[in-house]
Symmetry: C2
Subunit: 422 residues, 2 copies
């Protein structure tokens, strides 16, 4: 096979243009995108995407949950395709890059291959996974989870949004309820480009994140039962203050996560006091909490230490604290070979990089359970995502797309590259 | 003047009966009372009270804010009356004793004087102060505050409830908009019996609380501005977590109050996170806070120490914290002579007692600004008040009423007591 030269680059302007053109479907006044899965704007971008893939010589297929697969033929059609892509749905107040970058970079990689006249050995498949965000229908990363066998198709088809509309009905309304069985189409690997959605690459001035792990996560629901009493007449030593107790729990979660740094994180993001009043010592409240870590053993330790801390606090304050685990997802370990291909491509292209753990969930994390997979991160401004202010530079998006292109070529094998200067 | 014998007692069953009979006006299924000021149930209890006072030989007057004054003549009508009483309105989910005990014990004291054929030198006045609770109309202790000159009558008449009904209109509807100017009727002293609404008397097994002070109070509104970020992708050291910050503030308020024990109290009872989410590090939140202390200098210290703590926390966590004082009320120092009369009566009757600070606000606290005043506390079960479970024993209510009776007789002077056994 011919060596692909590192001077093979994607078309930066064409990628940037595609991102901004599709951003019009659901554009918000603040510069973001509101394109909930299977809605009118999603149909628009899917139609755009289908047309673009077909114009790039791909054959577009849709499965029973609306996931789109655009196949670029290879020399050996008996080989499983190398899959690349992400998602095109967004958060209610989402940005232009989350999911969109990975999907349109995959399209751009195929367009660049076409421009260079490259024939690969194995086929390439550009994927647009349905409902990654989980905003309109639960769960998040819905279609890739079904593909990976975590849910049956019928289960997912019956999921309802807040207005009672089912996934099945929404798919039918936009005409994307495909013929293919979910999970029928297999691949040799899946590589997903995505903005980091965190602050590390920007802080360390690295262009590329070679993602080797995805965080495992534990979700908790908690309650605290103290005693609601008059704020004026109840002396401090006689209080059973649920909010002061909660404050100790918040700081314990923070401390426990920090002791398992640098990767572990712990967060309490919600609290609701029952019948709150300025002059009433809080008696009852509920809250949510989560831990994340790329190591299963660490997750066990985080969980154990939290339960111990909660026991101590409850005893000392003479209140009841219940912290109940409601979900646990084990860490994702991306395939060493695919991660190596990403790192190899990055080095070959000369970009600064670091290995990084994905703190957020992605389709690639689900798919890693059923095929070799890896991810490529690029920086996003201030680490902001799930926010209309989400931003990334053209240069970084281009770099990520180049790494995606070269990783894909390395995995699919290049048969001929007639238009590349040697 | 004849000595009143300590064997002069109120009629325990008659007092208990009055409490439970009036509890029917607005009775709740849980055994409490919902009798918002100037509503239909309040009219019922006011009519009952008027009839009972008149049947006890009192002349009933009503001022422009509906406060009722029932005068029992004395020998020397040129002397200012000794005023006793409390309020008959309740919280939305109130109990049977808060305010009611003090008002009906005052009525019972008059009835007991009648039974014993006692003539006092100065007249006695039983008071029912309008809108002590402040649930329907703000502020709390509304009528006594106007009496004490803190608000003009017109200001109060224009106050509206949540439905836009004015105090003036509500008074007219129930027919209790009296002719007398607020504050025109003067007294030599005011003594108020009340349940403690706190846990101390019960915990220390004391029957009577001789109230010598009322807490001063500072109210704050607070905001914290950190940075909302993804709970999975933001490493712990890079967070600006408003909720973790808030937790430190809660514990600081608690600690600061404790260092000024045993009297000072500090409470945060409300917090609202902006756009909370299980997997988002809290960026912005608001909260309320309060300190109470019976000493002005301590209030200054509490305030100062909180501001310093907040500054430290904000700097360390790199977030913005604003804690703004919105109200400050100085402590009430009850009149030594009147407090002494209460203590003297308590000793004479042989009840166990302790001096105590009132942690809650009462009409007596407002009135102490314009006349000698004091309060008498009795225990309530578990210190619970502002709650349908509020409870007090017949024996304790009786003890409190006896102390009120003897205090009143000491202050008004007994001319003759023909029916008391010597």
């Amino acid at each position: 096979m011919a060596n692909t030269k590192s001077n093979l680059q994607i078309d930066s302007a064409r990628l940037w243009n595609a991102i901004h053109e599709t951003a019009k479907f659901g554009a918000t006044p603040k510069g973001g995108v509101r394109r909930l899965t299977l809605g009118a704007e999603d149909k628009q971008v899917r139609d755009w995407f289908r047309d673009a893939c077909e114009a790039a010589g791909c054959e577009v297929h849709v499965d029973a949950l609306g996931t789109m697969f655009a196949i670029r033929p290879g020399r050996d059609m008996s080989k499983l395709p190398v899959a690349i892509g992400s998602h095109l749905d967004t958060q209610p107040t989402g940005g232009k890059f989350d999911g969109v970058l990975g999907t349109l970079a995959a399209l751009e990689a195929v367009r660049a291959m076409n421009d260079a006249g490259i024939e690969t050995d194995a086929p390439i498949c550009i994927c647009n996974w349905t409902n990654e965000e989980g905003s309109r229908f639960a769960p998040a990363m819905m279609a890739s989870a079904a593909y990976a066998g975590e849910y049956t198709t019928d289960d997912i088809l019956g999921r309802k949004d807040a207005d009672g509309v089912t996934v099945a009905s929404a798919l039918d309304t936009i005409g994307y309820r495909g013929a293919e069985a979910v999970g029928a189409r297999r691949f040799s690997a899946f590589v997903e480009l995505h903005i980091e959605q965190g602050p590390l690459l920007e802080a360390e001035e690295k262009t590329i994140g070679v993602v080797d792990r995805g965080q495992g996560i534990i979700w908790y629901n908690g309650t605290i039962a103290g005693f609601a009493s008059h704020a004026g007449t109840t002396p401090m030593p006689l209080r059973r203050d649920a909010l002061a107790t909660f404050s100790e729990v918040v700081l314990a979660v923070e401390k426990i996560a920090k002791t398992h740094g640098p990767h572990a994180v712990g967060t309490i993001g919600e609290v609701t006091i029952e019948n709150p009043s300025r002059n009433v010592v809080a008696g009852d409240l509920k809250f949510s909490a989560e831990f994340r870590s790329p190591e299963s053993a660490t997750m066990d330790a985080l969980h154990r230490e939290l339960q111990n801390a909660v026991k101590d606090i409850a005893a000392r304050r003479n209140v009841e604290i219940v912290v109940e685990q409601i979900w646990r997802k084990e860490p994702t370990v991306f395939n060493t070979q695919i991660v190596g291909a990403v790192e190899g491509a990055t080095k070959q292209l000369g970009y600064s990089y670091r290995h990084i753990t994905s703190g957020a969930g992605h389709d690639a994390c689900n798919l890693a359970g059923v095929m070799p997979a890896a991810m490529i991160f690029v920086p996003c401004k201030d680490g902001i995502s799930h926010n209309e202010l989400e931003d990334a530079t053209q240069a970084d998006c281009t770099a990520g797309a180049n790494v995606l292109l070269h990783t894909t070529l390395a995995l699919a094998g290049v048969v001929s590259a007639p238009k590349i200067n040697s």
